[in-house]
Amino acid sequence: MSVSFTRREAWRNRFLILPSVLLLAAFVVYPAGFAVYTSLTNEALSGPAAMNPRFVGFANYAKLLTDQNFWRSLAITFWFVLFSAIIGQLVLGLLSAMLLNRRFALRPLVNAIILMPNAVPEVVAALMWASMLAAGEYGTLNNIVAWFGVDPQRWLTSFPLTMIIIVNIWRGIGFAMILMTSGLSSISDELYEAARMDGANTSQIFRRITLPLLVPTIFLYLLVSTVSTIAIFGLVFALTRGGPAGSTELVGIYIYNQSFNSYQLGYGSAVAVVVLVFSLLVGMLYVRALKVDV
């Protein structure tokens, strides 16, 4: 290939990637930078600050440190991620993957059923669970627990955080199962055979072979699901809008409520920057863990 040809190709490549770069710059990079700037002002959508936002330095961040509601939303987000993504989805996804590791007639059907919640749009998931968790003796979950002699509960009022965790676990088992299935299939049968020859029982095989060899898959899954669970908005917003009394106000919902209901853009941005920095840190871990070959 001639030099001029190579040069032409190089220019064409730059030209081909340019529209993507421009869009990402306009709608992601610039807003991210702008969030940092806004967080240093007292900008608001209403009140005196709306007309004439002032630079306030780190005042918003100082306010964050003493804001009970902010810490509460961080705590809620932490428990939400821990119990739904890290524990619930992972355990049930791994369990499903292992249980479905054997051929049987209904396997494709069970597989599809477990994956289905993953395909449902957030708002629809919220609607379905509003019916499941409906208060009163005719609510579906109340009907189910009645078999075990439990009295009807007002699920979303009495146990709001537990309920949104259950809803999110429901939504994510399928994705965890898919990743775990691919992880399991890369473990060679010979290892299992050898272990059985040596007289290992099922639980020993799981602890000494399956689990250690799944560690890379699990680690990858944890990074991906942590990031995507922090980003959850619609599922919980449509179901509870953060209530009752802020008990399901995940940090994403907190930002939204601060910015668009309390109109405190500057303060909302400070919260956003905290989330941004944390997500980017997890993202960098992810880049390193993947050992991305580019």
Binding site: P31, A119, V123, I230
Partner: protein, 299 residues
């Protein structure tokens, strides 16, 4: 795992556990499907006295169901199309180039993927507002005043198709770029080089060689972009307020929030209409899931 026959006890616990997990996964769907076909549906799961399609007819006759569906299709279809074009070309360039910006750019798009959209929503609102004002200025100077509103409906950034299409496309572009880059990495350069030797221009190479080869990659990135855009709730909630631009997720959300008696049969029917394309797209995308997210990122 090698297939050893289950002992009766193992088999019982295996199928018992799977039964419980399946029940957990499928229970919420039971109400949705029952209520959609039950003209007298309520919030509670019950055996319908009568089963018909009247809820679905009402979605299109009494509510603006058709409008919501069309708006969703226009916005998500537009965003998907844009993602396909941009990621097809961009992924190709990323795969073929050896320039210094390749590595930083690829790292950057992974980091972009992990940013929660809620963290960007405030500055995005301001960006969209600024763009909207600029465009409104241009539109007003070109279009007669009577038509400004209807033109803005298409090219506006707030309460307009264009802004939402660009925004949704951008949000789902990084994953698509990644998929296409990885895909083109696996496509041998030899086909292209043969075409270059035969004196084919870039346009000819594109049509005859690259496009046919890229189809599986484009299918994957298009499906993931569509699923993500279709299910998105935050952006329509923030950037759409006029009734004539309402999309399906907003239609459901607002019907659900209505203070007066909520018509659950109608709501369930809208939800079924909204969910069907998502499930179909997901079923098609399933075989790409592992290869995409095993090394890529979750959508």
């Amino acid at each position: 795992m090698a297939e050893r026959p289950d002992t009766p006890k193992t088999a019982a616990s295996r199928y018992g556990l799977l039964f419980v997990i399946s029940l957990y996964c499928i229970m919420p769907f039971v109400w949705l499907l029952t209520a959609a076909f039950d003209p007298g549906a309520g919030l509670f799961l019950e055996v319908p006295a009568k089963v018909d399609l009247s809820n679905f007819f009402r979605v299109f006759q009494e509510e603006d169901g058709l409008l919501w569906l069309m708006n969703s299709l226009i916005v998500c279809g537009g965003a998907t199309l844009l993602v396909l074009v941009l990621s097809g070309f961009g992924g190709y360039a990323l795969s073929r180039t050896h320039a210094w910006w390749k590595r930083p750019f690829l790292y950057a798009i992974i980091l972009v993927r992990v940013i929660p959209p809620t963290a960007l929503i405030v500055p995005l609102y301001k960006v969209m507002l600024t763009c909207n004002l600029a465009i409104a200025g241009v539109v007003r100077s070109v279009v007669p005043p009577d038509y400004v509103r209807s033109v803005m409906r298409f090219v506006g950034f707030i309460d307009g198709y264009l802004g939402l299409i660009l925004l949704l496309a951008t949000m789902h572009l990084p994953l698509a770029l990644w998929i296409m880059k990885t895909f083109f990495d696996s496509v041998s350069r030899e086909y292209e080089e043969a075409a270059i030797m035969d004196g084919a221009t870039f346009g000819q190479r594109l049509r005859r060689v690259l496009l046919p080869l890229a189809m599986p990659g484009l299918a994957a990135s298009g499906l993931f972009a569509f699923i993500a855009a279709w299910g998105d709730f935050l952006f329509p909630l923030t950037f759409i307020s006029s009734p004539e631009l309402k999309m399906l997720p907003l239609g459901i959300y607002s019907a659900f929030l209505r203070d007066s008696q909520i018509d659950y049969g109608l709501l369930a029917a809208i939800a079924v209409i909204y969910t069907a394309p998502a499930i179909i797209a997901f079923a098609l995308a399933r075989r790409f899931l592992v290869q995409t997210f095993g090394g890529g990122l979750k959508g």
